[in-house]
């Protein structure tokens, strides 16, 4: 009886410890993503045109581990759609960036800091991981001893993202001023 109880307690303790470790790792990944994202070191590649206003892109991010790269990929994709656009690939049409003024992020620093905040930033509303976030075979490239270049396919709702930025007063709408 006593052995059974102590076994139960130790199992519970072990489970709690495992959960705690996972959580810490996830938090660590997010914090790392935050740090590494600030550099905005990424490339976007056209994958497909989705339903009205949605684009599927492959985001190539640079990171030491996969978890960080996944977290970064979503931010990088939204950042890329807003500020960089992406070129045409094969027959999939490229897209111009939403903003035409490249200094808009400096002018609205506080807004974009909040927007891209890990764990609660509004950028999450406009991006989803495609293929459940699975990384393709050739999409994990070791570029140095410690760093990987990882390609993650995500889907970004550009149409809703544009509306959000228009509403926030960051960009002007097409009919603005008329």
């Amino acid at each position: 009886m006593r052995i059974n109880t102590s076994l139960k307690v130790s199992s519970l303790l072990l489970l709690t410890l495992i959960c705690f470790t996972f959580n810490i790792n996830a938090q660590k990944g997010k914090k790392k993503a935050d740090k590494e994202t600030v550099a905005w070191r990424y490339e976007l590649e056209a994958v497909a045109t989705g339903s009205a206003g949605t684009y599927q892109v492959k985001v190539w991010s640079y990171s030491k581990n996969v978890e960080t790269a996944m977290e970064q990929a979503k931010k990088n994709a939204v950042h890329g759609i807003i500020f960089k656009g992406f070129p045409k690939k094969d027959r999939v049409q490229g897209q111009k960036p939403i903003v035409t003024d490249p200094t808009i992020d400096i002018q609205n620093k506080d807004f974009f800091e909040q927007f891209f905040k890990t764990g609660g930033g509004d950028y999450m509303r406009f991006v989803t991981l495609a293929n459940n976030g699975q990384i393709g075979l050739g999409d994990r490239i070791k570029i140095s001893k410690k760093e990987y270049k990882i390609g993650v396919v995500v889907s970004v709702n550009k149409s809703e993202l544009r509306k959000y930025l228009e509403k926030a007063g960051i960009i002007k709408g097409l009919s603005n001023g008329f």
């Binding site: 045109t49 206003g53 999939v92 111009k96 035409t100 002007k172 009919s175 008329f178």
Partner: protein, 320 residues
């Protein structure tokens, strides 16, 4: 008290500025001549011995469901951006019903019909400020199909291309034509709108680009080389001086000038003017009217102003 008055005046000035809006250009999607020709929607007529082919838009809209589908898809996307399109098929119907209505209308007292000059008849056509020319071709390699899509945004008055998007979509074995067309629209419309946005930004920064023509009536004994004023300057030069003073940053080109006519292109007119202390939206008609008033007040030259949409005006000197 003084402070309050200043504050009140500032609020009023700000409010009147904030509510003044520039005239919104109308946009219409029109199947291109190439598309109409390829798909057999042309009509031919004899113009003094020369056979001329023109697009038969009515037939295209009545018989081709793909064109309806593409225009409707583009229309949805544009409406979402706050820019609902003028539908060409509806404009054609309205013109027809207006024409029928005008033909049967008569005055209750005199029994006379409504006045209509040949010029009025000529102007009764489907028009918009920006024409989105639409072309697509279906490419077939064996069972594989793809669509090449061309969307051109043309300023109807300056004839300049202000936006555009072109490309060939991914090929497919199984997708139906409407699916390929929808994909083509979705892939291109954002880039088209980005270019259109750049055009609008330029318009707000540098004024609306329009064309102004000056002509003279045959029975007017003066011409554009007649000298006026204390300095005995030629009328053409005086008009040019007025243009320089009244365009945004003095921007305009005198493309052609003879004793009978002047053609001003790339004329940048301001978007607003002030009337009774309020800002109002300016269009080419108002701009040309100001020139007409100047000629009357300074040199007693009576003139007639005719316009074509927001962007083209002609002033006829020597009478109404």
């Amino acid at each position: 008290m003084k402070k309050n008055i200043i504050l009140f005046l500032a609020v009023i000035a700000f409010t009147s500025n904030a509510f003044s809006q520039a005239k919104k250009p109308t946009i219409m999607v029109v199947p291109s001549d190439v598309w109409c020709n390829t798909n057999g929607y042309m009509m031919e007529y004899d113009n003094q011995g020369t056979k001329v082919k023109i697009p038969n838009y009515k037939k295209a809209f009545q018989e081709n469901s793909d064109v309806q589908f593409v225009i409707s898809t583009i229309g949805n996307m544009m409406a979402e951006r706050g820019f609902p399109l003028k539908r060409m098929d509806q404009v054609i119907k309205t013109l027809e019903s207006n024409s029928a209505e005008d033909a049967i209308m008569s005055s209750k007292y005199s029994g006379m019909g409504a006045s209509e000059s040949p010029n009025d008849k000529l102007k009764a056509v489907a028009k918009a400020d920006i024409i989105m020319g639409l072309t697509w071709t279906i490419n077939q390699t064996g069972p594989e199909k793809s669509v090449t899509f061309v969307l051109d945004g043309i300023d109807a008055y300056t004839d300049k291309q202000v936006a555009g998007a072109t490309g060939t979509g991914p090929s497919s074995f199984s997708a139906e034509l409407p699916v390929l067309l929808e994909e083509a629209v979705l892939a291109h419309i954002d880039n088209f709108n980005a270019a259109l946005m750049t055009h609008f930004e330029d318009l707000f920064a540098n004024g609306r680009e329009v064309i102004v023509r000056v002509k003279k009536w045959d029975d007017w004994y003066e011409d554009l080389e007649t000298e006026y004023g204390d300095d005995e300057e030629e009328l053409g030069v005086l008009i040019e001086d007025w243009m320089a003073d009244n365009t945004v940053q003095g921007r305009f080109n005198t493309t052609d000038a003879t004793e009978n006519m002047m053609l001003f292109e790339q004329v940048r007119i301001p978007l607003y003017y002030e009337r009774n202390g309020k800002q109002r939206a300016m269009d080419t008609r108002r701009f040309a009217r100001n020139l007409s008033k100047y000629l009357k007040e300074e040199f007693e030259i009576v003139s007639k102003v005719t316009t074509k949409g927001l962007g083209r005006a002609t002033i006829y000197l020597g009478g109404k």
